[in-house]
Each structure stands twice: as C-alpha cells, then as structure tokens.
C-alpha cells in the first residue's frame, strides 16, 4: 500500500521525467569530448595500419627486391608485382600496384617483407576522385614513402621492442 502510494506520488510529480531532465542538464555543463578532426587528431598506435608506402635505404636505393612474398601472402590479392633484372644484375620491380579497393589493411605484406620495404603508414584520410584512382603504382608508393620516411621509421622504432 505504502509502495503503491509512493509510486502514485512519483508518477504524478513526473518523477522519472525529472530524473531524465537532471541527467541532460548535468551533461549540458560537462566538458565536451568532441575532437575537432582536421585540427585535432586522436592518438594513433604505432602499429596503426593505414595507406601503404615503399621505403628506401638511407643511400636512396629502393628496398624492394621483388621477392613477391607480399603478393603471395596477400589474402585479398590486392598486390600485383612484375620484376626484371636491372643493369647491375639485381632483381627489381618494374610494376608494384596495390588496389586499395581490394586491400583489407591486414598488414600481412608488411609482416612478410624480408627487407621492410612495404609498410603501412599512419595516413588514413586520403581520397581518390575516380575508380582508377584506387590503384596506386610503384612511383606513388615510393613517393609516399619518401614523404613520410621520418614518421615511418619513428613508428617502427617505437613498435620494435614489442616484436
């Protein structure tokens, strides 16, 4: 009986509605948690797998030796490699294409690479304007690598102690 009366009073004094309003009014003055994306960014793990890049050795020689391990391990068949012998007798790629529509960003290529040539950078905000734009070739990959070499090596360094 007492419980019933209590419920009646609570119902008619809009008790539950008042609780709801109290919650929202508390949040109203709380600190906002929005991250203003282009200006602010959330922290990224050194293991983050984003856009691919091909790295070079410090002397400017490209690392990739066209062993095709990445092509073999790729579960989505996103990598296409063609190779030829260069004048100095080393084997190098003539074609290294990654189809970003196929790629599932698993990072297996990076794991498989014996010379740390193919890596995944922390770049995730990229776009292309045509369907063909999804395929990035060797030149573009090397360019991405050259541009972000310092960030890539720093991330690798940070992650190396856990490997």
């Amino acid at each position: 009986m007492k419980k019933k009366l209590k419920k009646l009073v609570n119902d008619f004094s809009l008790g539950e509605l008042r609780t709801g309003l109290k919650v929202t009014s508390k949040e109203f003055v709380n600190k906002k948690i929005t991250v203003q994306f282009p200006e602010e960014r959330t922290p990224i793990s050194p293991r983050f797998r984003g856009l691919h890049a091909l790295r070079r050795y410090p002397n400017g020689e490209e690392r990739c030796i066209a062993c095709k391990l990445c092509e073999a391990v790729c579960p989505a068949n996103a990598i296409t490699i063609d190779s030829e012998m260069r004048e100095d007798g080393t084997r190098r790629t003539t074609q290294y294409d990654i189809d970003l529509f196929k790629c599932i960003f698993c990072g297996f290529c990076e794991e498989a690479c014996p010379v740390d040539a193919i890596v995944e950078t922390h770049i995730f905000d990229y776009a292309f304007e045509s369907r063909e734009g999804s395929i990035i070739d060797k030149k573009a990959l090397l360019e991405i690598g050259d541009k972000n070499e310092s960030a890539i090596s720093k991330a690798k360094e940070e992650d190396s102690k856990y490997r």
């Binding site: 809009l14 509605l17 919650v23 929202t24 009014s25 949040e27 109203f28 906002k32 929005t34």
Partner: protein, 355 residues
C-alpha cells in the same frame, strides 16, 4: 509605443494620412513583427542544435562564422537554391497550397500577442478564441501535405497529426478555460494585466498542474519531441515532409518553429505574467530592475520555454502513438475537467488566491 511611431510618421510626412497611410502603417507593423520573428526562428535552429549538442557532449555547429553563428544563413541559402521536386502523380496545386496553409496561420496568430504594455498589433476582445481558431487551421496544412504528396509515409504522418492535434486541442482548450475563468477575460491583454504584481501573482502557482498539462499539450501541438510521431524519422521517414524539398519544405520548417515560439509565448502570457517584471511589488528589487523594458522580460521568459523545448527533446525518447492518445484521453482530459470544476467553484465562492 506604436502610437508614438505613427505620430512621428505623420509629423515627418505631412501629406501622409488617410486610408493609404493606415494601410501602409498596418503593413509596416506586420513587417516589424515578422522580420524579428524570422531572425528569431533562424537562430532558434542554431540554438537548438547547440543545446542538444551540448547535452549529448558534442559542441554543435561551429564551422560557419565565429561559434557557427552564421550557420542559419548557410542553411537558408542552401534551402533557397535547392530544387523543388514535385511528385509526378501528386496534385501540384494542393501540394503547394499545403505549406502556405501551414505557414500563414503560424504567422497570423502573432497579430494579437501583447508584446508589452500597449504594444501589440491588434487588441481584440476575443483574442484567445482567435488564437485557438487560427492555431487549428495550421493542421490543414499538414493534412493537405500528406494527402497531396500521394505517398504512403506522408499520408500516415498526416493521419497521425490529425488525430493527435484534434485530441490535444481539446486538452489545451480546457486548460485555457481555467485561465480564462480565473482572469475572467478572453482578451490576452487583460489576462496579462490581471497577473500584475510580481512573480507570486502569476497564474503558474494557483494553476500549476494546468501549466504542466498545457506545456505537454504544447509539445504535442507543435509536433515536437517526444511527441513528434508526425515526423517520426525512425518509423515513417519524415512523415508529411517526405516529398517536400527546397522552399516548400522550408515553409513547413518555419511554420513549426513559429508555432514553437508562439506556444512558448502563450505559456508565458497565460501562466507567467506576460510582460510583467517578476520583481513587481518587491521593495528593493523592483527599483533595481526598473530600467528593464517589459519586452525584454517577455523575451527572457519566452527563451526559457524555448530552452525547455530543446531540453525535453534531448532528454526523452519518442512516445508510442497509442501512448500519446492514452495520455490525452485517460489522464489529461479527466484531470483538466476536474480542475475546471475546482477552479469554477473556487472563483464563484471567492476562495483562493484569485478573485
């Protein structure tokens, strides 16, 4: 206030009199009311997004102008340049008539609103009846929109809105009857004047339950959350708005916001002493706040109710349709009828805080 303005125009332009002058002055009065209203409505959308954003731990629009203050204008220009699409099997005349029918009553009710002491466009003796009558016409806009769209979701929205508004108009009508009995007048000016004398003389204290019922009714009448089943994005996409785009849609949008402002205004006029200062009759504070114009008091009180709209929208989930109906017919209606008897008895026998 108006009179001085009219006298001034007569002085400035001596030949400016006669019927032409009267018509022109009426037009100027109308525009002087509608333009601030449109600006207010535009910034209400901004305030709504900000307030709801803040309550959801977001920060709301902040890209256009400082603090996103130009956002409403960006929205307006976007609306203006959008293509108006007509459903191929719809009746184009009804389709275009609907937003007009929704918008015009929303503006027309403002003619009788007392914005301050002797500051109104029209002071008619039955202004409350006028408000109720014109306010009901707005439903036709929504119903017609649902019918003319010739599509299933708009029709569902229209049906819901008809049943909803008819039911809740009853409740609001009864609530207003109690106020009318207490104030013994149907003139909004008189109702406000009878609440003079500080915050304790306003009707929200003696008629507190009625105020709550009125406010919930106002939420339903303006199709706002948590009673926005007419739009009901998650159930019927956008209700009556589904087929509308561009300016016709903007008209619906504006009508909704005008109605919101008006309902907030009506709540203030009926229960919160209209343009009266809350400090009237309090010795020290009355003098301290004496410089504040009565229009400002009105706007402050009104803003609180508009904030309440957003606050409630951010807090509660949408009601199920049958729950709204049950609330109306099984709770509010008996409650208001009983309260009418109570108020009638008390006014007749001279008991209570009113005379």
């Amino acid at each position: 206030m108006w009179q001085s303005f009219v006298d001034l125009t007569h002085q400035l332009i001596p030949w400016f009199n006669g019927s032409l002058a009267d018509i022109l002055i009426i037009v100027i009065k109308g525009l002087a009311l509608i333009f601030p209203l449109i600006i207010m409505m535009a910034y209400m959308t901004y305030a709504e997004r900000k307030v709801i954003g803040f309550m959801q731990l977001r920060i709301g629009p902040n890209r256009v102008g400082p603090f996103g203050l130009l956002q409403p204008f960006a929205d307006v220009f976007k609306m203006l340049f959008k293509e108006v699409i007509f459903p191929s099997k719809s009746n184009i005349y009804l389709f275009l008539l609907a937003p007009i029918l929704a918008f015009v009553p929303a503006v027309a009710v403002w003619a009788v609103v007392p914005l301050g002491e002797d500051f109104y466009i029209a002071n008619i003796d039955v202004s409350l009846l006028y408000v109720m009558a014109i306010g009901s016409v707005g439903v036709y806009g929504i119903v017609l929109a649902g019918w003319a769209s010739n599509s299933k979701y708009p029709l569902l929205g229209a049906l819901r809105s008809t049943a909803l508004l008819i039911s809740y108009e009853l409740v609001i009508g009864f609530v207003l009857v109690t106020v009318v009995m207490v104030a013994s007048s149907v003139n909004l000016n008189t109702v406000v004047e009878s609440q003079s004398g500080g915050i304790l003389n306003w009707y929200w204290i003696p008629l507190f339950p009625m105020m709550i019922v009125f406010w919930i009714g106002a939420l339903v009448e303006t199709n706002r959350a948590p009673f926005d089943v007419v739009e009901g994005e998650s159930e019927i996409v956008g209700g009556t708005h589904v087929e509308y785009s561009g300016m016709p849609f903007a008209l619906f949008f504006m009508a909704e916001y005008f109605n919101m402002i008006f309902m907030a205004m009506l709540a203030v006029l009926m229960f919160f002493g209209g343009w009266h200062s809350p400090f009237e009759g309090i010795p020290f504070l009355e003098g301290l706040f004496g410089f504040v114009p009565d229009l400002i008091w009105l706007l402050i009180k009104m803003s609180f109710f508009l904030f309440l709209y957003f606050w409630i929208r951010a807090s509660f989930p949408r009601f199920r349709y049958d729950q709204i109906m049950r609330l109306c017919w099984k709770v509010f209606l008996p409650l208001t009828i009983v309260w009418i008897f109570v108020v009638a008895l008390m006014t007749q026998l001279g008991i209570g805080p009113w005379f």
